[in-house]
């Protein structure tokens, strides 16, 4: 049996989640619900929950503020939010779990199942570190990312990544230190997360870090040479946009 704490400033959201958890097949006991950050901090200290359902937008702050005030996190966190693009992107970067409101029964079940499969609490703590690191880091090219692998997660600095190469439903990530990490996500997943100006999809199978392009050789689409001396073909339809990005 897991002890759950719900932090949300709106009663109807708490009620809904409570209803759903009660009818869930997973054995979850709601120990308390809090509406403010202060209440929540006290409650966490006193009741040591296993799971924290945390709303992003709280009346007097955010769920992140709450986490940042804790010395250590020895419980699982599942964020809840209705519509916050900024927060969603942050969760994806750090591979933290979240539920969209109104919460769907199936989604909740999936989240709880994932939670049960998780090996240790250490991972959650690492993911939250990434989350805070990314909040503090204003430079978009040195964000950190949690990469889902078959074995678990690998944390990487985006600065470390030279390129992504697609391999059906997997993606190989080549790093500066010559390591190859195989992620259990499609290349499109990474393209969507890293949609700033640092990474560019030059080809159906290639997403590259623009900072590591050493040379562009003209051709029908042409090809690029990266700092690790790999030559990568550029798709004809990506050529113009790539040149534009390289010039900027």
């Amino acid at each position: 049996m897991l002890k759950a704490l719900i932090v949300d400033d709106e009663q109807h959201c708490i009620d809904r989640l409570e209803t759903l958890l009660r009818s869930s097949t997973y054995n979850i006991k709601i120990i308390a619900y809090c509406k403010t950050i202060d209440e929540a901090i006290k409650e966490i200290a006193s009741s040591t929950p296993d799971i924290l359902f945390l709303d992003v937008q709280l009346g007097n702050g955010t769920g992140f503020d709450l986490l940042s005030q804790l010395d250590h996190i020895d419980f699982e966190v599942i964020f809840t939010t209705s519509y916050d693009k900024y927060a969603l992107k942050a969760f994806k970067f750090s591979a933290l779990d979240y539920l969209l409101k109104p919460i769907d029964n199936t989604d909740l079940d999936n989240a709880l199942q994932k939670l049960r499969q998780q090996k240790s609490l250490k991972e959650t703590s690492q993911k939250i570190d990434i989350l805070f690191h990314n909040f503090k880091e204003s430079n978009p090219s040195s964000k950190r990312i949690a990469i889902p692998t078959v074995a678990g997660f690998t944390m990487l600095d985006t600065k470390q990544i030279i390129r992504f190469q697609s391999d059906a439903n997997y993606t190989h990530i080549h790093t500066l230190s010559n390591k190859k990490i195989t992620a259990s996500k499609t290349i499109k997943y990474f393209e969507d997360i890293l949609d700033d100006n640092t990474f560019f999809r030059v080809h159906k199978s290639h997403l590259v870090n623009l900072d590591y392009i050493e040379a562009y050789t003209k051709g029908k689409g042409g090809h690029i040479t990266l700092s690790d001396k790999t030559r990568i073909e550029v798709a004809v339809r990506r050529k113009d946009e790539l040149i534009q990005k390289l010039r900027a």
Binding site: Y83, L100, P102, I103, D104, H203, K204, A235, R237
Partner: protein, 599 residues
């Protein structure tokens, strides 16, 4: 006009002729007086100036130039060509006397041209003769002959016998100088015949003397002697001691050759005394030579030596004189050639400079044209690109506006749908429906912000939409999506939610009012470089909807979508289209869009 180099062998008639015009002091004075009184710048003054310059030729040639220049100026001003020609000839004479052959020739050439312009044959003849003399001096025999021949022709043309004789004699001299003695003799004979006809004894004497020399050179000593005797006799008759002395010397020389030493001595002695009398050093030297040979033969060695010494002495003085003039001539020639060479060089250089400038200018113009062409092409390209970018931006903005209009339209339709569902179902089902609908709404809101999404993403959305509508219509709605094999849904980009308003229209106005199950069939095909959607329903059809006149929202969404397709077609410069057509049962919608691939 003296020709010292040739005096040794022959008498130049031209020289002799000049002796007649030897200046007289009183004539000079009278001319000077006349000039002083006649100050008016007219042809008379010009004539006087030329005459005075002519008188000064041998005494003070340098003073003649200023007079000539004035005469030239007056003649030109009064357009008196003859005066100009005479002045140029006199200028040539002055230069010639000063051994400036180049300028002399230049002046003579001008005089020649002018004389031919007038025309004045007499003048022309004299100028041609002078030109011939200069060329002969410069040993340019071909050109000398050329001028003398022209001189001859001109003389013959005007019937001037004296000039004709001079021309023939001069031609003969050239032949003799070039050792073509037969030709020389032939011309001299012609000249002699004419001179005899004319009865000009001086000419006869001079020509006979020259003829004798020619025979001597041909080795015909008897003929030579005979002619020398004749020349001597004629010279004595007219009292010309030059010809006489020359003839006497020549007779002496031939007698030495014939070993008649006694005769030779007599002639040589006579020649010597005569030469001394007239101060002809050259012939004096000749006489001493003959005498030295005679003494040698007679065994009078001291006399012979003495005579020889005198010969050498005198000869050297003559030779020195000759050498000097030869040197001057050579120098002249060299100067002339050098000037010519320098002039040619200069002309070449100028030509080169001109060519370089021309090539440079052409090159510059070509470069400028090329540069302008490049500049213009680049500018036009930039302009075009800018215009295109601007148009694209405008279109993009319009599309964005249209997409954002889609959102409220969709949300309110959704709310209608939810309210419809809640009114017909229980709370739990309604809640489930609502959660699903919120997911769809979120997805549609997210995707509708994007310019384009992949076909597979768009179809996922449509699938979700139709599933939800299926729940609402309590499984009355069935649908099927077929994608052509040529199409890669993951690599094909489409504008988000293009189909949604048409599907919505089919469901709400076609299938919902219908009794019984409805079917929506979506086909996606590739037609060349276009993507074609075909949506078929078996609903109640368009006409019935219109009769019912309900719900204009569908047509509003369709209107916006049509506008979006129009703008997209404009951006891609391809013709997209939307066609709605009635079928016996239901409606078919065909949408074509420019096919766009991601990679």
């Amino acid at each position: 006009m003296s020709r010292p180099t040739q005096k040794k062998y022959c008498f130049l008639l031209i020289c002799l002729v000049h002796f007649f015009g030897t200046s007289q002091q009183n004539k000079l004075d009278s001319l000077k007086n006349e000039l002083q009184t006649h100050t008016l710048k007219d042809t008379i003054r010009a004539g006087l100036l030329i005459e005075l310059a002519s008188e000064l030729t041998y005494s003070e040639p340098n003073k003649g130039f200023s007079l000539i220049e004035e005469a030239l100026a007056i003649s030109k001003k009064n357009i008196w060509i003859k005066g100009e020609a005479l002045a140029q000839r006199q200028k040539g004479n002055l230069h010639y006397v000063l051994a400036d052959n180049l300028n002399a020739m230049d002046a003579y050439q001008k005089a020649l041209v002018l004389s031919r312009k007038i025309p004045d044959k007499q003048l022309e003849a004299s100028v041609l003769s002078n030109l011939g003399n200069i060329h002969a001096d410069l040993k340019e025999y071909d050109r000398a002959l050329e001028n003398y021949r022209a001189y001859l022709e001109t003389s013959q043309a005007m019937g001037n016998r004296a000039e004709e004789i001079k021309a023939l004699s001069n031609i003969a001299i050239i032949y003799n100088d070039t050792e073509n003695f037969e030709e020389g003799v032939s011309y001299l004979n012609k000249a002699l015949t004419l001179a005899k006809e004319e009865g000009n004894d001086l000419f006869i004497a001079a020509i006979t003397n020259n003829l004798a020399l020619a025979y001597k050179n041909l080795g015909e000593h008897q003929k030579a002697l005979f002619h020398y005797q004749e020349a001597m006799a004629m010279a004595q008759k007219i009292g010309n001691k030059y010809i006489e002395a020359s003839a006497l010397n020549s007779i002496g020389k031939i007698n030495v050759l014939l070993n008649n030493y006694a005769v030779a001595e007599t002639y040589a002695s006579n020649a010597l005394s005569l030469s001394k009398e007239i101060g002809a050093v050259e012939w004096e030297a000749d006489s001493w030579e003959v005498l030295s040979k005679v003494y040698e033969q007679n065994g009078k060695m001291p006399e012979a030596l003495n005579a020889y010494k005198k010969h050498i002495q005198l000869r050297d003085s003559v030779l020195n004189e000759e050498k000097k003039s030869e040197l001057t001539r050579k120098e002249m020639q060299f100067q002339m050639e050098r000037q010519q060479a320098v002039a040619n060089e200069e002309i070449k250089r100028q030509q080169l400079v001109k060519n370089i400038y021309l090539i440079g200018a052409i090159f510059f113009v070509l470069m400028a044209m090329f540069g302008y062409y490049i500049y213009k092409r680049r500018r036009d390209e930039l302009e075009k690109k800018k215009t295109a970018e601007f148009n694209a931006k405008v279109s993009e903005t319009e599309l964005k506006a249209l997409r954002s209009q889609m959102n409220p339209h969709f949300i309110f339709n959704s709310l209608n749908s939810i309210s419809d569902f809640i009114s017909k179902n229980d709370i739990l089902q309604a809640d489930d429906y609502l959660v699903k609908f919120s997911k769809l709404t979120r997805a549609i809101l997210e995707n509708s912000e994007k310019k384009s999404i992949t076909l597979s993403e768009d179809l996922e959305l449509m699938e979700l939409y139709m599933q939800i509508e299926t729940i609402r219509l309590q499984n009355k709605l069935h649908h099927q999506i077929t994608i052509d094999q040529d199409i890669e849904p993951n690599n094909t980009l489409v504008p988000p939610l293009i189909l949604q308003p048409f599907i919505e229209n089919s469901i709400w106005h076609g299938i919902a009012p219908k009794n019984g199950d409805g079917h929506i069939d979506i086909k996606i095909e590739k037609e060349g470089d276009m993507l074609k959607y075909v949506v078929d329903d078996n609903g109640v059809g368009q006409s019935k909807k219109n009769v019912r006149g309900k719900k204009s929202n569908g047509s509003f969404g369709i209107k916006i979508t049509k506008s979006r397709i129009d703008i997209l077609s404009h951006i891609k410069n391809k013709k997209g289209s939307v066609n709605l057509m009635d079928k016996p049962e239901g409606v078919r919608v065909e949408i074509t869009l420019p096919l766009e691939l991601q990679f």
